[in-house]
């Protein structure tokens, strides 16, 4: 009967897109903002 796709940890009712915080095919959670590499201005890369 297939898989219950509503139980894969994806918020299918979300209005915004899922892929920006998609943690990958085998992760059961979405990424937090501090885990998402982002094109910040080079000056912010303090270290």
């Amino acid at each position: 009967f297939g898989t219950d796709l509503t139980a894969l940890g994806l918020n299918l009712t979300a209005t915004e897109k899922l892929y920006p915080s998609f943690a990958g095919p085998w992760s059961d959670r979405t990424l937090s903002v501090h885990e998402i590499d982002y094109p910040v201005p080079p000056e912010y890369l303090i270290s």
């Binding site: 959670r29 990424l31 903002v33 501090h34 885990e35 590499d37 910040v40 912010y44 270290s47």
Partner: protein
């Protein structure tokens, strides 16, 4: 009605390789830049701690409600991430401005004593990430070439 199809030899080889590969877990950190301060370590905290991402915690509105201290923490400890980007936006909204030479955030303490095309001069509050605290700086010249 199609019935099973016997697998070819190459399929059996592929399956054997796939079985072996299934034992080498893919970590979320495998595809993320190395985090200097907060590495992506999965750690089982007590179940009564929030285990999922706070709703809407990836929105500018959420960051606008965070305290200045929290925003500075996020800015300096979550470098190169969307969190740092959103923290910077929220700090700017609170009239902080990033000095690209000192790599610190400055806020006017009062109207500058002088303003030219190249700079402004006066008393500022700045956040010193070395000493981790806000400081007052009088007679400081904020050169616009260092304004982000």
């Amino acid at each position: 009605p199609l019935g099973p199809v016997s697998l070819s030899k190459s399929c059996y080889y592929q399956l054997a390789m796939l079985d072996a590969a299934a034992h080498h877990q893919i970590y979320p950190s495998d595809s993320q830049r190395l985090r200097l301060y907060l590495p992506a370590t999965r750690y089982q905290s007590p179940s009564y701690y929030p285990q999922t991402v706070l709703p809407h915690s990836d929105t500018a509105e959420f960051f606008h409600r965070l305290s200045t201290e929290t925003l500075f923490f996020i800015f300096y400890f979550m470098e190169g991430t969307k969190a740092q980007y959103l923290a910077a936006k929220a700090l700017k909204k609170q009239s902080w401005r990033f000095h690209t030479k000192y790599m610190m955030w400055f806020q006017r303490h009062e109207e500058p004593k002088s303003i030219t095309d190249e700079y402004e001069q006066g008393t500022y509050i700045y956040f010193d990430y070395d000493k981790w605290g806000q400081r007052k700086k009088e007679g400081f010249t904020f050169e616009y070439r260092y304004l982000e």
